[in-house]
């Protein structure tokens, strides 16, 4: 079908299997190197190179290649398929650019050693998530990327960061519980104790626990992707993290949820009911993210809500693929995700650039931000337009298709709001450190160019198709409408009141009260049970109960 997805364009000398393993091992080695005091100073500089093996692997390793790293009982296997390669390559680019940015951004920060450790661990986890092919290792990789991302979120150690970190951890542990339950049910469908994901998913449609598995998988992965209502942690976490951290979180860590869906949902086999549900949630989240993002007053929180919205779109695309059972739709969702990954990473870095520079320089940065925003919104002749056109293949012009194009209006409006916020964010007097300018610009350029390179191999259509007459027409009116709306609102001085980040979280006050109540209840029950007469009576009662029961 598409060239890029099957044959490697660049013959290379290193054995492909070793490259896959090296992609994960390199960042892990860096994290372990932090333990040796001698290497500690070197590590921040090496962070830029760590993603290199992953990038080469994404580009060079033939698709469908799988390598058995550990023998029978563990079956720790790595494999590279189309979607995996796309996401791996995009992630590698983002990690390199953000790594360079972080190197300069963190030069004066006393805790840069700790940040570098969490950075390397999250990077290793993210590459592993895209590569592993067996269930237990996927759970390990997913846990690694989720828990080490906590280190990036709470790096600044401010009260908001701590609150956001605790919420992130609580929901991550909840997500892990959902996934372990789903994986156990999946694995029970096969004879293997630790089956390959491919075999487990093959047995899914016929499994007696099918609906439970799909529900738990969706709950676990959409929590990571940030679909409504499990998105509450994302605006809080991405806003408090340092700029490169936010870029990595919003760009790559969120995609762990995407690859989870792509791996664990059957490709080309229709799951009635679930596909539509996912599409509906995706579309609702797309609009919900925009509606709340527009009210934000800080560029990073606006971007976080934009991520929520875009992940809603990706969810909708995957849902549509599930509903229709269209084979080969998943790589397109991955392509859209990569486009979002690079654009969002670039936007965060540009926002960081603006925030660190004088008002004049901030306005120039806002220009770049505007271009990136337009690409995300899908302005014709931009990478975003290619992505929007590609998902049209998966989501034909039904209600879902129309709503998705309508969401482009929203994202155009949100991107305009982001650009406005970036212009106003230049507060510093001196010029930003040189080290952060170059990576931001480089990533912006990559974000705009890469979709052009990927469009043909992924969709199999010539570039011209995306720029044909009617495609342009369908692409331009949503963006125009969005910008018009933005102009109107800007003229009225953005009258919208700011919704505090984590929106429905504040509606969950009673939930927290309920939890405190259970806490007190348990402590009271424990105190009563631990009084001697009660415990002694319980002992005798237990003996009597066992005697009665054990006939």
């Amino acid at each position: 079908m598409s060239g890029f997805l099957t044959t490697p364009p660049l013959p290379i000398s290193v054995a492909p299997e070793a490259l896959l393993l090296l992609a994960i091992a390199a960042p892990l080695a860096l994290a372990l190197a932090m333990l040796a005091p001698g290497l500690r100073r070197l590590v921040p500089r090496l962070l830029i190179l760590a993603p290199l093996p992953a990038l080469v692997a994404a580009v060079a390793v033939p698709r469908g290649m799988s390598v058995l790293v550990a023998p029978y009982p563990f079956r720790f296997t790595l494999a590279l398929d189309g979607s995996g390669a796309l996401l791996l390559g995009g992630a590698a680019l983002l990690w390199m650019a953000a790594g360079a940015y972080a190197c300069a951004y963190m030069r004066k920060d006393p805790a840069r050693g700790a940040f570098a450790t969490w950075w390397a661990l999250t990077m290793a986890g993210s590459f592993a998530v895209f590569l592993v092919a067996d269930v237990a290792s996927f759970y390990l990789a997913y846990a690694l990327v989720s828990f080490s991302a906590f280190g990036l979120v709470t790096h600044d150690d401010t009260p908001e960061a701590r609150r956001a970190g605790n919420l992130y951890l609580a929901l991550t542990v909840l997500g892990e519980a959902f996934l372990i339950a789903a994986f156990v049910m999946l694995a029970s469908g096969t004879s293997e104790a630790n089956p390959l994901i491919r075999d487990a998913v093959a047995a899914l449609p016929t499994s007696p626990f099918r609906s439970a598995i799909v529900l738990l998988l969706l709950a676990g992965f959409t929590l990571k992707m940030g679909l409504f209502p499990l998105h509450v942690w994302m605006p809080l976490a991405h806003a408090v993290a340092p700029v490169p951290g936010s870029a990595a979180l919003s760009g790559v860590v969120v995609k762990a949820g995407v690859i989870g869906l792509l791996r664990f949902l059957p490709d080309g086999v229709a799951l009635p009911g679930w596909g539509e549900a996912l599409t509906a949630v995706g579309i609702f989240t797309a609009f919900y993210g925009v509606a709340l993002g527009v009210t934000q007053t800080h560029p990073k929180r606006a971007l976080a809500y934009s991520t929520v919205s875009q992940m809603g779109v990706v969810g909708a695309v995957i849902g549509a693929a599930l509903a229709s059972g269209l084979p080969g739709a998943f790589p397109i969702a991955a392509f859209y995700a990569v486009n979002h990954m690079l654009l969002k990473g670039a936007m965060f870095l540009v926002a960081g650039l603006a925030m660190a520079s004088a008002p004049a320089r901030a306005r120039q940065a806002a220009l770049i931000a505007g271009v990136l925003g337009l690409s995300l919104a899908g302005l014709p002749f931009t990478g975003g337009a290619l992505a929007k056109y590609a998902i049209k293949i998966v989501v034909p012009d039904g209600i879902a298709g129309f709503l998705l194009t309508l969401s482009a209006v929203g994202s155009a409006l949100l991107m305009a709001r982001y650009a406005v916020l970036v212009t106003a964010s230049g507060k510093e007097r001196q010029t930003p450190p040189g080290g952060i300018l170059l990576p931001a610009l480089a990533l912006a350029a990559l974000a705009l160019a890469v979709p052009f390179a990927l469009f043909a191999p992924v969709t199999g259509l010539p570039l011209a198709a995306a720029f044909s007459g009617d495609a342009l027409a369908k692409g331009v009116w949503p963006v125009a409408l969005g910008l018009a709306l933005a102009g109107l609102l800007a003229w009225r001085r953005w009258p919208l009141p700011e919704v505090p980040a984590g929106d429905i979280l504040h509606a969950m006050g009673p939930l927290a009260a309920l939890w405190r109540h259970t806490l007190d209840l348990a402590v009271a029950a424990d105190a009563r049970l631990r009084r001697w007469p009660v415990a002694a009576t319980a002992l005798i009662a237990l003996a009597a109960l066992l005697a009665v029961v054990a006939r």
């Binding site: 372990i180 630790n194 002992l539 005697a547 054990a550």
Partner: protein, 494 residues
């Protein structure tokens, strides 16, 4: 080869002589050497059982049951012996005085009690006679209670008193069960009893005797709702002592509980009684888990975590007594693996907590911010041990959790699966609480000047990695654990 069993019992006791007669420094070293040899012996027993594929057996004084007492090591007991010997040896090393340091870290009494614990535990795992097991349980209690109040503070003394009295109440009930069993069958030997039970289905009175023995064992293992003595005792004891108490001492009564219901009781009786034990287990996981989250002191949090983790064993009973042999064997392996990996991770966590308390001078959680900077190895040990409790791969906890979940799923026991998952969530709560605090910087920026003691943190880390190493066991019923089951004496007509 069966001589190993006798040596495993008697060698630890030999360490008492130098401790009582020679000075404290010589006594400490002798105790460590003896415990190391004891660990070697236990591992040798495990290897012998694994290689021969049969259980080792030995008749004391050459007399076969019913008159004599038999010792027998099957796969399950060999695994538990290996675990407890390793933890005891490492704890003795942890409690040693630093080389060249003047004052001893722990009084000589600590090492005497540790040696007695080693012998009592091996006896509990090997003895096949119910009364000898009673004496083993008493030996265990008398060695454990003074451990709780070594520092002599009133709170510790009160906790030790409650522990002693409740444990004695439990052991009297156990003894009552033993008396009734002897009254009905005229023998106290496991193999002969199960042979007699196989012939004629027992009446309600054997069920009552088994119930009394189980209640006694649950009291000594502090299984919910009988956990009144565990939190104050394990939190009040000095760190090396609470590591041993939480990791291995409560495992002997749990081991015997499993022996009673899985090896002695006929299957229909075991299936009938299993739900009661499972409900107690679920109560332990949920109530003690939530109460652990409400604790403000680190050692109390870990003690409640112990009370909660014991509950997983309660959940094992209905699954291990299930109809399907494969899934029962899987639950059996999962339960045993949880026992062993909990021992390693809990010992590591208590040792780490001890080191952190030494550096900060207290163990109030709120005041431990920045611990990762001041005591990195201890926090690492606590974290890795904690992740095993949480059930994150690669760790023994994860493998055990998956085995229990799979067995629960296949046998349709949905609520057990839900409780196991909820337990994982709560464990996440109380483990990550310290890790999050450790990563934060204290508001007033003042970190204690003291640094953690490196080699002792290394021991805690080694134990934590022991729990991780268990994660590499395959997710299938372990053949080693089913060697020597069902229990029968070789070369003896039943």
């Amino acid at each position: 080869m069966s001589a190993l069993l006798v040596l495993a019992l008697t060698v630890p006791l030999l360490g008492l002589v130098p401790l009582l007669l020679a000075g404290p420094r010589v006594g400490e070293r002798a105790a460590l050497a003896v415990l190391a040899i004891g660990a070697g012996l236990c591992v040798a027993v495990g290897v012998a059982v694994a290689l021969s594929g049969r259980a080792l057996q030995y008749f004391v004084a050459g007399l076969a049951p019913p008159l004599g007492i038999g010792l027998r090591a099957d796969g399950f007991s060999a695994a538990m012996m290996g675990m407890s010997a390793l933890v005891l040896a490492l704890t003795a090393f942890y409690a040693m005085r630093a080389p060249g340091a003047g004052a001893p870290r722990m009084p000589p009494a600590f090492f005497m009690l540790l040696l007695a614990l080693a012998s009592a535990l091996n006896l509990a795992f090997l003895a096949q006679d119910l009364f000898t097991l009673y004496v083993a349980l008493e030996l265990l209690t008398f060695a454990a209670v003074p451990l709780v109040c070594l520092d002599g503070k009133p709170g510790q003394l009160r906790a030790a008193m409650t522990y002693l009295m409740f444990a004695l109440f439990g052991s009297v009930l156990y003894l009552l069960g033993v008396v009734l069993v002897y009254g009905q069958f005229g023998t106290l030997d496991f193999a002969r009893l199960s042979a007699a039970l196989a012939l004629a289905p027992p009446g309600w009175s054997f069920g009552a005797a088994l119930a009394l023995m189980s209640a006694g064992l649950m009291a000594k293992a502090a299984l919910f709702p009988l956990h009144l003595w565990l939190p104050p005792a394990h939190a009040g004891a000095p760190p090396a002592a609470s590591a041993v108490l939480s990791a291995v001492v409560i495992k002997a009564p749990l081991f015997l509980l499993v022996r009673l219901w899985a090896d002695l009781a006929p299957v229909p009786m075991a299936q009938a009684a299993a739900p009661v034990l499972a409900i107690c287990g679920a109560g332990a996981i949920l109530v003690c888990g939530v109460v652990a989250l409400a604790q403000v002191r680190l050692k109390l949090l870990i003690a409640y975590s112990t009370a909660a983790q014991i509950g997983y064993l309660g959940l094992m009973f209905p699954l291990a007594a299930g109809a399907d042999a494969y899934w029962s064997a899987l639950a059996w392996t999962g339960g045993t693996l949880h026992l062993v990996s909990h021992a390693f991770s809990k010992a590591a966590m208590f040792m780490a907590a001890g080191l952190i308390a030494e550096v900060f001078g207290h163990d109030r959680l709120a005041g431990l911010k920045g611990a990762a900077r001041v005591a990195p190895l201890s926090i690492a040990a606590f974290g890795i041990g904690g992740l095993s409790l949480l059930g994150l791969p690669p760790s023994g906890g994860f493998t055990a959790k998956v085995m229990l979940l799979t067995s629960a799923l296949q046998q349709g026991a949905w609520w057990i699966g839900v409780v196991v998952l909820a337990g994982g969530l709560l464990a996440g709560g109380y483990v990550l609480r310290l890790l999050v605090l450790a990563l934060q910087r204290p508001e007033d920026g003042t970190l204690p000047a003291a640094r953690e003691c490196g080699w002792r943190a290394g021991i805690a880390l080694a134990l934590a990695f022991g729990a991780v190493a268990l994660g590499f066991l395959p997710l299938a019923p372990l053949g080693f654990l089913s060697i020597g089951r069902p229990i029968a004496w070789e070369g003896l007509a039943p």
